[in-house]
Symmetry: C2
Subunit: 464 residues, 2 copies
């Protein structure tokens, strides 16, 4: 078993700071733990029972060593609690805040030292803990009614910030995707992003890893593990603290790569590790990589029934380094023969307002071998597009073993078509450009994926 195995799949969990009340963080966590199938040991010096299960007065009262201990008590109490877990826990998550992020660096160093001396691995302090829906394990101090958890899925979330972790949980739900593991590691005195990458590289439930980073302590280890993970499955990094304002805002670990963003960025891109420019770009890529496996190539075919949307998509393809290469002469003649003369058989293929549902399938069938990926744009505000489009594309997708993303414009039937396409694992985006970014995440080309968006392919100085 991977060294971090018992952290994500413990058989027993102790909670120091358990409470009987759901209005307290220790009560929220305990309530979330009640769903866990393994053993749960709530610890509270005043109670023998909490929320209907046996409680323990002291750590030493627990009848067995636990795989995972959670600490949710004020920072000054944490060192003593940690010492009690010596020989009694394999992993300890210190969720409490009040350490280096508020200047209490000595206290944080003590936490680090006690963990090292005591033989358990420490997560945190100042962190959100973890969520493993495959084991019904949820240590977050966020009430379920405030943050509904994503379903089980293949996206792993690794976040230094608890706030961003909670935003990512919501965004994964919105993307109609699911989570394999989610962890907020906070101040990272011991377990940090690199250890988590190593674990997730071999985690069979995880197909894509998203990682929010403010600072990195051990740059060499970070790069080695990020590269190792990237070789096995996509890792998408969102690095915060890019400019002086952001850096000042980010809590600054002292570490080798914690300085200038430009250095971080250039090293990361040199190793072919993907970086997202912002939260939305991160989630657009995550959605695509959660639905489909990436593949090589960069030749893209755009199929649309709205000319303007096709143009916007083609523009974004250019920015993303995707090649909207024309349709070859013979295939073009064949398609023109199949379609009315006013359909534009170029790339983008414009099926116009006279489109019928079946036309999308015809193009996909005829061009399947000629392109590496497909972008479907549908404006279902014309009579020829019906809910049947969802069924037809679901069937077509099965024969098309290539990346495909979609933009379905707003209309009365958009929701239904979107649901069907997403059940068929075609990710749907609200704009042509975002659908292109999703497709880009799936097409690795021959070069590393770009980590910046926007204008880099345009001349930077206007040709004045």
């Amino acid at each position: 078993m991977n060294p971090l195995g018992p952290l994500f799949e413990p058989k027993s969990v102790a909670l120091v700071g358990a409470s009987h009340s759901e209005t307290r963080l220790g009560g929220v966590v305990l309530k979330n733990l009640l769903r866990f199938k393994g053993k749960v040991y709530p610890i509270n010096p005043k109670y023998d029972e909490l929320m209907g299960i046996k409680a323990y007065r002291e750590v030493s009262d627990i009848p067995e060593p636990v795989d995972l201990a959670l600490i949710l008590r004020p920072a000054p109490e944490v060192p003593d609690i940690l010492r009690e877990f010596r020989g009694r826990a394999r992993f300890v998550i210190v969720m409490s805040s009040g350490f280096a992020e508020v200047g209490e660096t000595a206290l944080q160093e003590e936490v680090r030292r006690i963990g090292k001396e005591s033989g358990f691995r420490t997560v945190g302090p100042n962190c959100m803990g973890l969520y493993n829906p495959h084991k019904a394990l949820d240590t977050f101090f966020l009430p379920q009614e405030r943050i509904r958890r994503p379903k089980r899925g293949n996206v792993a979330i690794v976040s230094q910030s608890g706030a961003i972790l909670s935003c990512l949980l919501g965004a994964v739900r919105d993307a109609n995707a699911g989570v394999s593991k989610a962890i907020g590691y906070g101040n990272a005195v011991d377990v940090a992003e690199a250890d988590l990458y190593e674990y997730l590289a071999y985690d069979k439930k995880t197909d894509v890893v998203i990682s929010y980073i403010e600072s990195v302590d051990d740059g060499r280890k970070f790069i080695a593990r990020a590269k190792e993970l990237t070789d096995k499955k996509p890792l998408l990094i969102l690095k915060a603290g890019k400019g002086s304002s952001g850096q000042a805002a980010a809590f600054s670990h002292t570490g080798r790569l914690a300085g200038r963003y430009e250095v971080f960025h250039s090293i990361v891109s040199q190793f072919g590790i993907r970086e997202a420019a912002d939260f939305d770009e991160l989630m657009d890529a995550t959605k695509a990589l959660s639905y489909q496996r990436p593949s090589k190539g960069n030749k893209v075919c755009i199929i649309t029934n709205g000319g303007g949307s096709g143009v916007l998509a083609a523009d974004e393809c250019m920015r993303q380094g995707l090649d909207v290469v024309g349709i070859s002469g013979e295939t073009k003649a064949r398609l023109q023969h199949l379609f009315p003369h006013f359909f534009v058989v170029n790339n983008p293929v414009d099926l116009t307002a006279q489109v019928q549902d079946e036309d999308y399938v015809t193009v996909l069938r005829e061009l399947a071998d000629d392109y590496d990926g497909f972008l479907l744009i549908s404006l279902p505000n014309v009579f020829g597009i019906t809910e049947k489009l969802g069924e037809l594309l679901t069937a077509a997708k099965k024969n098309l073993n290539k990346p495909v993303t979609a933009n379905i414009a707003q209309s009365g039937i958009t929701g239904k078509i979107t649901s069907m396409l997403e059940r068929a694992l075609i990710p749907v985006y609200p704009s042509p450009e975002r659908a292109v970014r999703g497709l880009k995440a799936l097409l690795t080309g021959n070069a590393p994926a770009p980590c910046k968006r926007g204008v880099q392919n345009l001349p930077l100085t206007p040709p004045w």
Copy 2:
């Protein structure tokens, strides 16, 4: 009255190609016209009555000259129909397609010539027509059940493409904004973007104009009118056909600026005319400018209860040229005195997970004079944030006569808080970065607003 007045506010409308059936485009348009308060003259050689109103066999049967005639008949019939409107219409919209966009340039030239000779102004051909909710006028051939129209509001939409026009209608609805006028002008043989800018500059119902452009015929006129409009109210341009793929995809008018995007871009930015990089950026800016008036300055204060979200916002501020300047010493001391010691009284102000609703208002009150704009970030997954936040910020907004945008992270109460804030005209965005882009649209700084996003403020060559 402005020369284009009767186009947008006609007293009478004729429709050539009216149909009794809602499954035909001529029936969809007629149905939409039934809500119009002025006179409607449906024309169809086979009927004396259509959808319950009197119909006319021929154009010459209409008892009076009309302000606006709509033509929805096959392209080859259009010239003869146009000739019949000589002296019988002030404006004619040729909605039919089948002209230059499919190579029928001679037919299109004929349309242009007949219009000029006949003394009416021509819109189109190959266009969507117009929508003026303030007059219940809707000439779109899109069924209401497929595209629900936005409510009345202050956003004018000017789109060369009908497809993008329909997407923009949906996006304006999504933004909880409303439309003053919307028009798709298509192949633009006569009335083009520049004429529309001139009209909208003086339209009292319009506070912000969004314009989707594929090509421009008369560059000099375009720039003059765009500048004139920009001097009166914000104009946001989305130029499609930026790269070779996009240009090939865009139907190409022959015109002075229809060529290289770089030339278009550099001229436009030289004149301080705003450009959006993509559909989403266009709508983020539109939402902000629909809710609030832009003002000078670029000093921004970020108020958050999630550290990570504050860092992402600060990063985006840097990219957008907004200054996240620190809090001055005296004010800082005052705020620190008002708050618990673990609140981070910097910029961003981090109210942490221990936040209470009132804390946002305290910061706004204390810092109101020191900044040009405010970004509110709230993660309502902690106990201290309740629905009351909406009320408190609604009240605070009234005393704060400065741009303010918000990012409310997903939670069980996000919808309610968002509704309240947007009723108070604080635009809410789904990510910190997009909220920054909204704020940027409201802060004109001392330089023209940027038209590109992303990395332009970062060094382009890594400091290797």
